[in-house]
């Protein structure tokens, strides 16, 4: 054990805030320096993460830290823990931050807040990932949303005001309701679903996020990707915390499956009428997030890892696709990137999806048989996937005019990187746990 190991986790958690302080010290107009510093820090955070993971693999007990404040007889503690659940969340957040700082060059000097927001949002995520209790993590994620509203409010989209108004009220409503219910030991019929609502809302699952369409249309093309991923990651983590604290019943699994299926069909339906290239990656993202959220609640750790694998692959594919759909506006490169989402075996999301299908068949169908519920659910998901894929294949062919050409070599390398990463994610997840 190196001398650094006991502190490495603290360093990881607080490094984004240190990066923010450095970025704030640079004048707003000096975008070149800001880009350099943000790239430097995101690489540094990645190295710290690697060191943290190595320390965790050597001795997992050292990564349970308590931040304590002693004042008179008062002892306030904030626990931060690295465990098998959140280590993947830390990894994906760090990778997304790195991708974001490398791929997004700040072209104009808006405000300092725009420059530091990815780091501050990462810090909020890091702090909340370290928590076991939703009552502590949710307020932190809730207040972090203000940064999102600020960034959306500052862009030039027409309906930005109503977007943040509806989104803000709805998310605060869900958060407050869940937190109030956690204080009252009563058994309400839909208490579990209410507790899940902050997570489902953030994952933009349509039945819980009526603002979803407005949000997709009114986020800035360049900053929007990171904001959407922030919402997805925070939503997923909330679901995970709730899942770990609930006793999962068959009724709950069926309710969540139905909710997510309705959401997926809704997404596929609106995709048929909405042919904007900006929206395609979001529709796929929400579609697969719904599926991952549904699978998360299936009993057994195998489903946890396959759900996580699907979710992370989805996030990574979304990141690349969204960036290229914004830049290329429907050129053939967009079609390549969209192929990552189609669920083809061995390509993009298909690397995780087919594992999931195999597990579903071997662990659910072979055990319970093809009940009416599972037949209906499976058919529903297949129809939704076929519909959304068909619509997007047909409509990307119609978008021929590129406003901003992406260099072909660069696009090809990015595509290959994403394809490789979508292979690495399930391999890394299933290597140790042998989920199938």
């Amino acid at each position: 054990m190196s001398a650094f190991d006991p502190y490495i986790f603290h360093i990881l958690v607080f490094s984004p805030i240190i990066a923010s302080i450095f970025l704030m010290l640079i004048p707003v107009s000096d975008t070149g320096s800001k880009i350099a510093i943000s790239r430097f820090f995101s690489v540094l955070i990645l190295f710290i993460l690697i060191e943290t993971i190595i320390a965790y693999m050597k001795d997992s007990s050292i990564l349970e830290n308590k931040l304590s404040i002693h004042l008179f007889n008062l002892n306030i503690q904030v626990n931060l823990a690295l465990n098998k659940y959140n280590v993947y969340m830390y990894t994906v957040t760090t990778v997304v931050l790195l991708f974001n700082t490398i791929s997004y060059a700040i072209e104009d000097a808006k405000t300092n807040i725009h420059h530091v927001s990815p780091f501050i949002l990462t810090f909020f995520l890091f702090i909340s990932y370290g928590q076991y209790d939703l009552r502590i993590a949710l307020p932190i994620l809730s207040i972090a949303n203000f940064l999102l509203y600020f960034l959306i409010g500052f862009n030039n989209e027409i309906r930005r005001g109503s977007t943040i108004f509806h989104m803000g009220i709805f998310i605060f409503f869900c958060d407050a309701l869940a937190l109030v219910l956690l204080q009252i030991p009563i058994s309400l019929a839909y208490k579990n679903i209410i507790l899940l609502s902050p997570g489902l809302t953030r994952m933009l699952i349509p039945m819980f996020a009526p603002f979803m369409k407005k949000f997709i249309l009114n986020i800035d093309n360049k900053e929007g990707t990171f904001l959407t991923i922030f919402l997805q990651l925070s939503g997923w983590f909330i679901l995970l915390l709730v899942k770990n604290s609930l006793s999962i019943s068959t009724e709950l699994i069926e309710t969540i499956s139905t909710i997510s299926l309705i959401g997926a069909i809704y997404i596929a339906t609106i995709a048929t009428t909405d042919l904007r290239a900006k929206c395609f990656p979001h529709y796929f993202l929400i579609f697969y997030s719904s599926l991952a959220a549904c699978i998360l609640f299936f009993s057994g750790s195998d489903f946890y890892y396959s759900s996580l694998s699907l979710f992370i692959t989805n996030i990574i594919c979304f990141f690349g696709t969204a960036r290229f759909s914004y830049d290329s506006h429907g050129t053939p490169t967009l079609t390549w990137f969209m192929a990552l989402f189609l669920g083809l075996p061995g390509l993009g999301i298909g690397t995780s999806l087919w594992v999931l299908i195999y597990q579903f068949y071997s662990l659910v169908i072979l055990r319970d048989g093809w009940t009416n519920f599972w037949i209906t659910t499976t058919i529903g998901w297949v129809i939704a996937l076929l519909l959304i894929s068909a619509v997007i294949i047909l409509s990307t062919k119609q978008h021929k005019e590129a406003t901003e050409k992406v260099p072909k070599d660069f696009a090809l390398i990015s595509f290959l990187c994403l394809s490789l990463m979508s292979w690495l994610i399930p391999v890394a997840l299933f290597y140790k746990h042998k989920g199938f």
Partner: protein
Amino acid sequence: MFTATDLSILILIVASILVLVLDAIGNQQSKALLEKPHIGLVAFGALYIALTIEILESLSTTTSDQILFNSKIGNIFLVVNSLIALSIMRNIAHQKPSGSYFLILSSLAISMFSISTDSLIFKFIASTGWMTLLTTLAVISTPGGKKAEIGLKFSFSALLLIIQFILLLSFLYYENLPLNISDINLTKTAELSQNLITIFIILSGMSLAGIPPFHSGFIDCFDGGNIGVAFLLLSNASIQGCSLLMDSKNLLNNSSLSTDKFNTLGLILVLGFILLWARALDQSKIRRTTAYIAASISPLFSMTLLFGSSILLPKPIFIIATYAFITLSLSALFSSLSHMTTINQPWQTWEELSGFGRMNPWQTLVFLVGLSSIAGIPGTFGYFIKLSLIAPMQENFLFSSAIFLSIAIGAACLMRVFVFVFAKHSHLEQSINLPKPSFWLIAVSFILVGLGFFPFVS
């Protein structure tokens, strides 16, 4: 026995007389002397001495009596609030009337006496006296035509307070009961008398704290009056009113009335609280909306001290946290508004605030943090204060629903302001760039958010 609080009160009374004399002399002198830095020095000096004495006294003595501890902490925060009010008033250069230092110091001495004394007669005299002095200050510091309205509404509130106290004292006299709160035992009196005595002491507390339906004077004072005076009125009225409500709790404990009466008190407070939030939602003017939101802190503060609890925090720390909440939230809200010189006039609407946050992000940040904290948005200090009410009152579903509703309405109010300040563009041709708020004000807003990260409530 001469206590440290008596010494503080004496210092404040002497200082108030001294500033009155200096003020009178200053009015006869040249214009340069009218700046009166020496008067400010005496006033601030007296306040700092009083604060030091109170803090030292609180640290040196330990008490298990909750009422006594409350009054000690209350005294400290009364002085702190007066200091903040004076700082806010110094920002508003054109609204610094002659005699304001005297009125602030003397009203502070009276309010400290009011919450320290056990005698109901003295409480009656001190409360009405405090209200009269602060009404005078509110009226003389109001620049426009709202003077009459504020004076009239506060006179009406003071009249109601006097009537309620007289009725309370009459019933106590009729039942041959002592007039010291700690000596009153209602168990042997008739149930009707018990009910009437407790009702009138609760009503007195509510009118002193400005809890609905006795809130109109406070709203008008903030809407049209001096922001510093409004801060002083609201914060110190809440502390004094809550002290009377704590006395009513004591009386209820020493009576044969059922504990349901206590829940009824909670319900009255929470209804007033919701009423203020509902009114805040339909206002178009900046000052008026903020006034309703700020006034909602008074019932919240009373409810927290009466019913709130925290498993994770020792009771004394929880009480200090509750007092700190009212001071920090109100100071963030009122101080930031006093800095927003271009949009803090009573007639200005939210439309005029469009794009303000884009030009002045720091002022807007502090203002929004103050609002969020009072609204109890998750992730702020106010959220834990609201949550501390739910667990002890969990059997009362209506109460929990009302707390949740207040957070939901608060979120709506906040998002409305947020859209105006950040999502809209300014209608003005020239951008307004105000100086950054002070370091302390920014620190206060960070404390309000930072404390929202620490779980005070299990």
